[in-house]
Amino acid sequence: MKSINDRSQDIGPFVSQTDDAIIICRCEEITKGEIRQAIHDGMFTVNEIRRYLRAGMGLCQGQTCGKLVKNLIARELNVIPDQLDPATSRSPMRPMEMKVLGNEEVSHV
């Protein structure tokens, strides 16, 4: 299996594609072209793309675009998608108001 650990490996030049303007991360409005460019900047993992571009950092936390980002990286690096880890899952599962998350009161109705 091809390794992506050597970050200086030649992945070829960035070649623009006709659908680079498509939005992949809807929450943060990150396009396919921006993600492909980030891969050529050296971001070879889903975590790195997320931190570099904010793709998957919005309200849905990457539940919509996570797989798409992973497939884009795999295609650009010419590896199989299963070789890439998904971004780290973070609590809470759904956005939650501070006054709710911080509530210590327990009411037994």
Binding site: N47, R51, Q61, M96, M98
Partner: protein
């Protein structure tokens, strides 16, 4: 398993966090060949991208304050342009908040020390605080105010240094943990990983808490322990304030990012007793406790939604100040670790000065107070 001997480099850096990446960048700028070895799959996966983003001078120990002041004057203002990545540096001051007489005493002590080092920082009262930040509750009665402090984005700063160093020819290898440092004829020479042995004249260990077991292979020890801390972030909110915030007890800190989200870190009081899961996982009590703290300081944020919480480890030093030092006992070996939770803001200055130390034998800022052999038993 057979290990191939990798090609020679001027410098091997162990650790792909912001300190390793920044040092690699400044060394490459000087024309040296550098390889960075990262143990995990991701660049900047440790404290570098888990911290609260403070770029502070106030509240620092006087031994690291000159480094902080120099970096804020000389590196941070031009960093986005230099790296070609928006590091979101915002220099709109730091409020370190207090509610009690005990807090006032802590803040006054920190302020007096910083003033003696030439820093523009002063104590202000509740009215002055709310003139700067009208969202703070009436519980806040005193603060230290340093107008030249600020914050930045740890994620883009860490990966920005990586991107730029890589462009300059620095080789980065992930999933390459260092098992052993080896001396040849009394000087550092080899770095042993599962797949290869790397050779260099100089080796920098910049691996956070993991530096301890790496340094142990050449008989060097830095007295530090891992300490888990937790952070959280809200959805994007309308712009409210631009200052960096902290507290006298250092139990709460945060800022509003350029994106609009609020990033806050806080402690539940159980950090030193956290279960070591082998990876930094948020506890069930951390985020809730921090939310209660935030609401007391900022009642207006009670309805802001938390979208994400995370945890990370500090490499907490015996005296809570980093080790940035050459190791004379092992010629060619250098250490940058034990940043104790306040490494991000000084990272560019550390990278710049350590690159000078490695390449030129001396640095712009005198780092002798941060030596690795400063720790003495009690008398």
């Amino acid at each position: 398993m057979s290990k191939h001997l990798s090609k020679y480099n001027d410098v091997i850096i162990i650790g792909g966090g912001i300190i390793g990446n920044a040092t690699a960048y400044y060394l490459a700028k000087k024309g040296l060949s550098v390889t960075v070895l990262e143990a995990s799959k991701d660049i900047g996966i440790g404290g570098s991208s888990r911290n609260g983003g403070g770029v502070r001078q106030s509240g620092r120990d006087t031994r690291e304050l000159p480094l902080a002041m120099w970096g804020i004057k000389n590196l941070w203002p031009g960093l986005s342009e230099e790296l070609g990545v928006d590091v979101e540096y915002t220099q709109k001051g730091n409020l370190r908040l207090g509610k009690t007489a005990a807090h006032q005493k802590i803040l006054q002590g920190l302020t007096d020390k910083a003033v003696s080092c030439g820093l523009d920082v002063r104590m202000i009262n509740g009215d002055e605080i709310r003139a700067i930040n009208p969202y703070l509750s009436d519980e806040v009665t005193c603060a230290s105010w340093c107008p030249t402090d600020g914050h930045a984005n740890p994620l883009t700063a860490t990966l920005g240094y990586y991107k730029k160093a890589r462009e300059l020819g620095v080789r980065f290898i992930t999933e390459s943990p260092c098992f052993e440092l080896r001396k040849i004829k009394g000087v550092i020479r080899q770095v042993v990983t599962p797949d290869a042995i790397y050779e260099a004249d100089k080796v920098l260990v910049a691996a956070g808490f993991d530096s301890r077991k790496i340094l142990a292979t050449v008989g060097i020890d830095v007295p530090m322990m891992p300490l888990k801390m937790e952070c959280l972030v809200t959805e994007a909110e309308p712009p409210m304030f631009l200052q960096m915030l902290g507290t006298a007890d250092a139990d709460f800190y945060g800022h509003q990012s350029k994106h609009g989200s609020f990033v806050f870190g806080g402690s539940s009081g159980f950090e030193h007793l956290n279960k070591d899961n082998g990876s930094p996982i948020s506890s069930s009590i951390g985020a809730s406790c921090t939310c209660r703290g935030i609401i007391k300081y900022f009642p207006a944020l009670a309805d802001a939604k938390i979208v994400r919480a995370w945890a990370g480890w500090l490499d907490d030093c015996a005296d809570h100040v980093p080790v940035i030092s050459p190791v004379e006992e092992v010629p060619g070996l250098y250490i940058t670790c034990a940043f104790s939770g306040h490494g991000f803001g000084i990272a560019p200055a550390v990278g710049y000065n350590v690159a000078e130390m490695i390449a030129d034998g001396h640095s712009t800022i005198d780092l002798s107070a941060l030596r690795y052999d400063r720790f003495k038993p009690k008398q």
